[in-house]
Symmetry: none
Amino acid sequence: MGTRSVTKDLFLEERRQEILRRVNELGRVSVGDLSQEFCVSEVTIRADLQALADSNLVVRTHGGAVTANRALPDISLSSRLTQQVREKDRIGEAGAAMVMDGDAIFLDSSSTALAIARQLKGRRHVTVISNSLAVAQEMLDAPGVTVVMPGGTLRRETASLIRADSLDALRRFNIQKGFFGAHGLSVPEGLTDVSADEADMKRPLVAMCRRVIAIVDATKWGRVGLASFARLDQIHCVITDSHVSAEWMDQVRAQGIEVIAV
Amino acid sequence: MGTRSVTKDLFLEERRQEILRRVNELGRVSVGDLSQEFCVSEVTIRADLQALADSNLVVRTHGGAVTANRALPDISLSSRLTQQVREKDRIGEAGAAMVMDGDAIFLDSSSTALAIARQLKGRRHVTVISNSLAVAQEMLDAPGVTVVMPGGTLRRETASLIRADSLDALRRFNIQKGFFGAHGLSVPEGLTDVSADEADMKRPLVAMCRRVIAIVDATKWGRVGLASFARLDQIHCVITDSHVSAEWMDQVRAQGIEVIAV
DNA sequence: GGTATTTTACGATTTCTTTCGGAAAAGCGC
DNA sequence: GCGCTTTTCCGAAAGAAATCGTAAAATACC
């Protein structure tokens, strides 16, 4: 029946690539159509869509999938913040507790990094290096904290600066600890982000930090984003919440990484 | 326009997305209309509206739904309190009018520069270079505008970055116009600022701008701040308000400087 | 042999509809 | 204004159809 052009036998990766291309082109795809197009069973297509959805490349719906921009917005920002504010705060406390007076630390543009910043407000002689507008804004009323930002181009999605022309200027700082949020944490890929630009920004910073601390809530474990910015052996510590399976934590601890579940 | 009927079979997510779009566009929707439009029962529509209401995306009413009054508290500067808002806005308009599509411009951390930024929101292919957090924050929802910030240390009083380690990175931009607020404008001292650090930041930037535009309201004329950052012969244009004496303006015009009083 | 991929089978889940009792708005007579 | 009826709208329940996920079997490939 498959009189369409794509009767060719495709490898799994090729098929998923093609599905992704189609979603981005048409905005939506249905399981039934794809099944006919590629001459595979619907179960296979569902597995494909599931995989793409796991990487946040498409949004799964009943009967098919749509592009992210056609999907419903997440729970509104305010309610999501209130929902997870407890966990974020606890992660923020744990992170802030690791910062000594006199330290220079890096905070990225994740919301968890912002939580750490909030906990640092009363500190003195702390230098915060960050590419996040929100972190800088937050520290406006923290007179004991010096804030340094690398230059760059504003990325709207995260209110952060990317494509820094010269991170060299930061090399004169001896950055004791770097706190990095991530979109995914997995053993083979390490820390990943959905934005290649953001990852490009973080990669050299990871190398500049004496101690790299990943801050990832339970939902991020096992997920893989578009671009990797830190291998697992570059990470010294992971701060997460208590909803992570012991199995996963053991797997990461086996790599010699400290795991703190708050 | 308006009555485009949707007979297509939509996924649940798509239908809700479309409903949300309609609510935000029209302000209100009715259960009956939506039921006909999407060819589903009213019960289904009610479930949709309920779901959207649960996420605070719409407000449920009898017979339909209306937009959620999304009054997100803006965390921008409290500079709106000043009584010179009107004049600031007019100066902002005059400044924005000088910016062409395709331009790269510099905006400093003055409140008048922020007023210019507000007027640039709808523009496309404009690059704004600024050391002001407020300007960057303001442009977060201006997708046609590229924002570039030089790196530096946060100065709390003005929410700006100073002591940039490498303005060299900005030299690759051909900055057509630079808008500089100042604490004082006088013939012998030129443009002055109260902060030496801030002045140190602006001085090289003045040299990098093809056209230097000073934005100073009437109160700044004849005043002299701590540190000078631009001689009068480096300035090409002054935007000010109409409360400046003709005598002052003539004196500056005599230097070959264009003076615009709004 | 072994591994990776896909299919088939089937019970579970989601989505949508119809139905129905009750609540909310709208008319209406006063 | 006040009570009354009528209409509209709501939410819950139950059932039908489509879709889903899982797990074991089948196929392909090395």
